[in-house]
């Protein structure tokens, strides 16, 4: 994985990666290094927009060091005054995107940048509006298998049950509804964010459900998801209830 028989067609504009960060001083340099490595290996133009919510741990200092290494045109730091939430972080980051395509991902190593060229390739092939990573599906044509590391049986069962519930009720047409590793066409992202009102992972679900309702074309790329590299993955009862409420809310709103 990581090398391709055919080159990824590049866009006329750089692909933007929006990274909302909060206390990611340890992870940010490595994520940027991985992104840089992936894009350079595939001859793709890139920008990373770091939207930091005033992290007290020095995330912004490290971001500035990375600017020294990769250039201020590649690592764009756009901090905010406080912890303001994910949706607004995307809105904020979008304002500084110069490219036609925006990639959103987590900065905690659960999403690996090596899949981004696959996203881009699929988008170019089928002229898609959105490409989303899926942990649960396999694609023979892409030669990729979804997978998760770090879940025990109970966690996997909850995840499968939750996915079944959402798929049956909302019929979203994607196999992984709560995933947040996605490529969007920039105007599509802008228009969807305007309409979405939820928070957290329900926000990701709402984005996808609204996208489908509006008729945007969506493709999927299987990804491997390394959950909580340095710790246990917990899912409590309140999160399950919150999820059910989220699904209900979307069912009755969209």
């Amino acid at each position: 994985m990581g090398s391709f028989t055919a080159p990824v067609p590049s866009s006329s504009t750089p692909d933007n990666v929006i990274l909302p960060t909060y206390n990611e001083r340890k992870n940010l340099p490595i994520i940027v290094w991985l992104i840089a490595k992936t894009f350079t290996e595939n001859n793709l133009d890139w920008e990373v927009i770091v939207v930091d919510d005033a992290s007290p741990d020095g995330t912004q200092e490290v971001a500035k060091q990375l600017q020294g290494v990769y250039g201020e045109d590649r690592v764009i730091l756009k901090p905010r005054a406080g912890k303001l939430g994910l949706g607004t972080a995307y809105v904020h980051g979008l304002r500084f995107c110069t490219g036609n395509f925006v990639i959103i991902m987590d900065a905690d190593f659960s999403h690996h940048p090596k899949f981004i060229p696959h996203f881009i390739r699929l988008q170019r092939q089928h002229n898609l509006d959105i490409v989303t990573g899926t942990r649960y599906a396999t694609s023979r044509s892409l030669g990729l298998e979804g997978g998760v590391y770090g879940w025990d049986l109970k966690r996997a069962l909850i995840s499968r049950g939750a996915n079944f519930l959402a798929s049956t009720v909302l019929r979203p047409g994607v196999t992984d509804l709560t995933g947040s590793f996605r490529l969007y066409r920039r105007p599509v992202l802008a228009s969807l964010i305007e309409q979405c009102t939820s928070k957290g992972y329900v926000f990701q679900m709402e984005m996808m459900v609204r996208a489908r309702a509006l008729g945007f074309s969506v493709g999927e790329v299987p990804i491997t998801f390394v959950d909580r590299l340095f710790g246990d993955s917990k899912l409590g009862g309140s999160e399950v209830v919150g999820y059910a409420k989220g699904v209900w809310g979307l069912w009755t709103a969209v």
């Binding site: 290094w33 020294g68 190593f109 690996h112 998760v148 590391y149 996997a156």
Partner: protein
Amino acid sequence: MPTGFQKFLLLSTVLSALYVLALVDVLPLPFLASSAKDAILPVVRLPPGIISALRSQADVFEGWWADEQLPWWALVTFGSYSLGSIGWGLWTFRECPEAHRELLEEIDQAKNELWDKGVSVD
């Protein structure tokens, strides 16, 4: 634009109406023998008085609970499908320890390279 929930309510209402109409013999089911219909459709055997008021032909039922009716059958089928689907998802759930290993190696490599370039990594 109707929400998913509204569409579901509409579909449920239509299907329920069709079901009730078939039950009281208003909706003809030409390919289904009358005795088969009586066995499949009803959920509960109502007392004779109510039945005869609803139907042109009154039958006398004994007991109040019937087996093999459509709604229960549908429910059990859906339940089986749900369990089967979740079970299948669990069976085909893939773990990726190789991704974890690869990631750890890359993190080490990244730390070394970035440290040399003056970025304060741990």
